[in-house]
């Protein structure tokens, strides 16, 4: 039976068919749906962990216990999980361990464009790279076999276009889900230096063997076209782009096992053609490997390391073809993402922008508070950095800075990696003010549960962390809760906590307006007799509000009656 499946859905299907028993992940675009789809299979225990490091350790523990296990994350998540990953390369596995890492070339929704193949190389584990949904499923299934055969975690590298494209997938039965025996084996799992020294030898031997295996394995395929004028070495989505752009004009070596890279199969292929191109997205990893082995190829001297590739770029660089098209006769205004109508972050960010404080920001829907007209954010680095960077900022600039700077961080991000920064503020004593934007959900990545929401991945009731008690326990005495729909209360709280002589936490609490259980009020109305068209209400950047012909207009299909604009209007022109 064939079914149209999203790459991420096919990943989950591969885990199911491959006999996966335990899955632990942290959400992150474009990887999130893998674990959401896994949750639909009752045969697999699945969970959202508070962060990627925890998730990978859970999966490794399950693997050591004898189960086939999975852990999923986006590219930057692997930085967080790098610590267990690099040593998991040494311990190896018992049950197969497959890790999904989703890269985001083009940065559709990411803060950087790192290429996770570097992590596979540095941690010396195997990496597979599929190019469409059917391959995703097959690679994941075979990934478990490979993991057990070579005694190593196997990373399956996804990219946005593979993760978020649907194509036909052939469904099969589930197999291989028996729990393997667990035997205590300190020489393998206790990485004391004496053991680790021996394990490192094993790791290098394994890489050798896997590179040999790559010369003749189902993941690496040669596709010779009669009369081809040149050769192309490629992998993942870049294969699909190449195939579309170049068709039968080229022969292809498509690499599915991208770490370690084989030598012989590449050399044999390259020798057949005068000209050989390496077409890979982001960094020059295959290309560097070729050069290191004395294989002459053309790569990043014509292709960029920045952004996505496409059939157009390839046709242009290799065939000299340029696309033909018309453009619209006038400038088209950009349409950037914005905080939704009724977003609880809006009121708080208006207060921050009004008070002109320095804001060390973090990653989540609230990062949109950096955009005009709110423009209330000075930094966004990585998850958790808001709190720790504020402490550093204040240590550098002293008391004056402590009185006019805050950190903002979401509930999921706080649980992910904000807590340790807060302990640091208490322990190393800076008079910093931290605002936790608790919208009771992981919003940015599309509504995942987290340890503060009272539900687990499957939507069943779960223990809910009490943020107030947690902040107290981490060493903060001044902890207060405000409602971000009440801007007066927010503004007073921020002013008071900035003035206080010790560190404080303000929890801005109201659930995301898009959550199904949230009751909306009727759309607000503008009293045209009172409205003078002053545009004061536009300062909150609500997408449901605009001014036409000198009067404010509310789009009733978007407005949820949050009332922030009512408070903005000094003339009382906006109401129920």
């Amino acid at each position: 039976m064939k079914k149209l499946m999203l790459g991420n859905e096919a990943f989950a299907r591969g885990l199911y068919e491959g006999g996966c028993k335990v899955a632990s992940s942290y959400p992150g675009t474009p990887s999130t749906e893998v674990t959401e789809e896994v949750a639909k299979y009752d045969e697999i225990y699945s969970e959202w962990a508070p962060n990627e490091k925890v998730a990978l350790e859970v999966a490794l523990g399950a693997s050591i216990a004898g189960a086939r296990a999975f852990c999923g994350m986006k590219h930057v998540g692997l930085n967080v999980a790098a610590d267990p990953l690099y040593t998991a390369g040494y311990t190896g596995v018992n049950g197969g361990l497959v890790i999904c890492v989703a890269d985001d070339p083009g940065m559709h929704s990411s803060q950087n464009e790192q290429d996770s193949r570097h992590h596979a190389i540095a941690s010396k584990v195997l990496m597979l790279e599929p190019s469409d949904s059917d391959e995703v499923k097959e690679f994941v299934k075979q990934g478990f076999e490979l993991s057990e055969k070579f005694d190593t975690p196997v990373i399956v590298r996804m990219t946005t276009r593979v993760a978020h494209s649907q194509s036909a997938v052939e469904l099969c039965e589930r197999q291989g889900d028996e729990l393997k025996a667990y035997e205590k084996n300190a020489a393998k799992y206790v990485t004391l230096p004496a053991n680790a020294r021996k394990l490192h030898v094993t790791v290098e031997e394994r890489l050798e063997k896997a590179a040999q295996y790559g010369n003749d394995c189902p993941f690496n395929k040669v596709e010779i076209n009669e009369g081809a004028q040149f050769g192309v070495i490629t992998s993942g989505i870049a294969y699909q782009y190449s195939r579309e752009a170049l068709g039968d004009k080229a022969s292809y070596l498509k690499l599915g096992l991208v770490n370690p890279l084989p030598v012989d199969i590449i050399r044999d292929f390259a020798e057949k053609y005068e000209t050989v191109y390496v077409i890979e997205e982001l960094d020059d990893i295959i290309e560097t490997h070729c050069r290191k082995n004395g294989i002459k190829v053309i790569g990043k001297e014509i292709f960029s390391k920045i952004g996505e590739l496409s059939q157009t770029i390839i046709a242009e660089k290799i065939l000299g073809k340029t696309p033909e098209f018309d453009t619209f006769s006038e400038p088209v205004p950009v349409r950037p993402p914005v905080m939704c109508a009724g977003c609880p972050h809006r009121g708080l960010f208006y207060c921050l922008s009004k008070l002109k404080v320095t804001v060390t920001g973090d990653i989540g829907c609230y990062t949109l508070g950096a955009a005009a007209p709110l423009s209330a954010m000075d930094t966004t680095i990585c998850m958790g950095a808001s709190i720790s960077a504020l402490h550093g900022f204040n240590k550098a600039r002293g008391e004056e800075s402590e009185r006019k700077s805050v950190a903002v961080i979401g509930d999921s991000t706080f649980m992910h990696s904000g807590m340790t920064g807060l302990v640091n503020i208490a322990y190393n004593d800076s008079n910093s003010t931290v605002i936790i934007l608790d919208n009771s959900i992981t919003g940015m990545t599309g509504h995942q549960q987290n340890p503060t929401t009272g539900k687990n991945l499957k939507g069943d009731p779960a223990y809910a962390v009490n943020l107030e008690a947690l902040c107290h326990a981490l060493g903060i005495n001044r902890v207060r809760v405000v409602d971000p729909y009440n801007m007066k209360e927010c503004e007073e709280a921020i002013k008071e906590e900035l003035a206080a002589d010790e560190a404080s936490v303000i929890i801005s609490r109201r659930p995301c307006a898009l959550l199904k259980y949230v009751q909306h009020k009727p759309a607000l109305k503008v009293n045209e007799d009172k409205c003078v068209g002053c545009k004061m209400c536009l300062k909150i950047g609500c997408p449901a509000l605009s001014v036409h012909n000198g009067k404010a207009v509310i789009d009733a299909t978007q407005c949820v009656g949050c009332g922030i604009c009512t408070d903005m209007c000094k003339l009382g022109a906006i109401g129920e």
Binding site: S109, E244, D326, V334, C365
Partner: protein, 190 residues
């Protein structure tokens, strides 16, 4: 058959997911190789969103590039204009006349161009349009405007009506089926 390309564009939250599922369903029923691609995440929040649908004997790249789309389906007039460069020469635009101001327009930094549809036609582009939102409201649900547009686009795609009806039956929950069938009919005759 050579690969055909359809783009579905609009503003995050306008329901392009159902639209692409309907089209994907119809294309599968015709035995085509199909790829449907969309970017999730950040750009969903009121930003410009795009879905690619490609079909033929064998589809490789899931992405549609400038000058490649046979049809662009747009839920909002300005979004149609934004993606004009993606249209193949001789391709069709099927758009709703609905207008949603983007933030730079709301903030008064930029202007929403006047008579977008008229200007596209003046450029020699084949544009088919209808007021999908009003038609959807007339059957009782603003959310059905995506299905109204599907009705309109079905007139350009050349597949028998019964396949669209089957697609509706398998993609729409039973309690909304009648409403959506009406919406589809209105679009087809718009």
């Amino acid at each position: 058959m050579e690969t055909k390309s359809i783009m579905i564009v609009g503003v995050g939250g306008q329901g392009s997911l159902l639209a692409s599922r309907l089209i994907g369903n119809v294309l599968l029923s015709q035995g085509f190789d199909v790829k449907v691609s969309e970017v999730h995440g950040m750009s969903q929040r009121g930003g410009s969103v795009v879905t690619y649908v490609k079909y033929g004997d064998k589809v490789y790249s899931p992405v549609i590039e400038k000058g490649e789309a046979d049809i662009i389906i747009s839920f909002e007039a300005l979004e149609a204009a934004r993606w004009v460069s993606y249209l193949k020469k001789g391709g069709h635009i099927v758009t709703s006349t609905q207008q949603l101001d983007p933030m730079p327009v709301i903030q008064g930094v930029m202007q929403y161009p006047e008579d977008v549809i008229g200007k596209m036609k003046a450029q020699g582009i084949d544009v088919l349009s209808c007021d999908a939102l009003s038609l959807a409201l007339s059957v009782g649900n603003a959310k059905a405007s995506n299905v109204v547009l599907m009705g309109l686009v079905s007139t350009k795609m050349g597949f028998e009506d019964k396949y669209w009806q089957q697609a509706l039956e398998s993609c729409v929950p039973p309690k909304f089926l009648e409403l959506n069938k009406k919406a589809f009919e209105l679009g087809k005759n718009a």
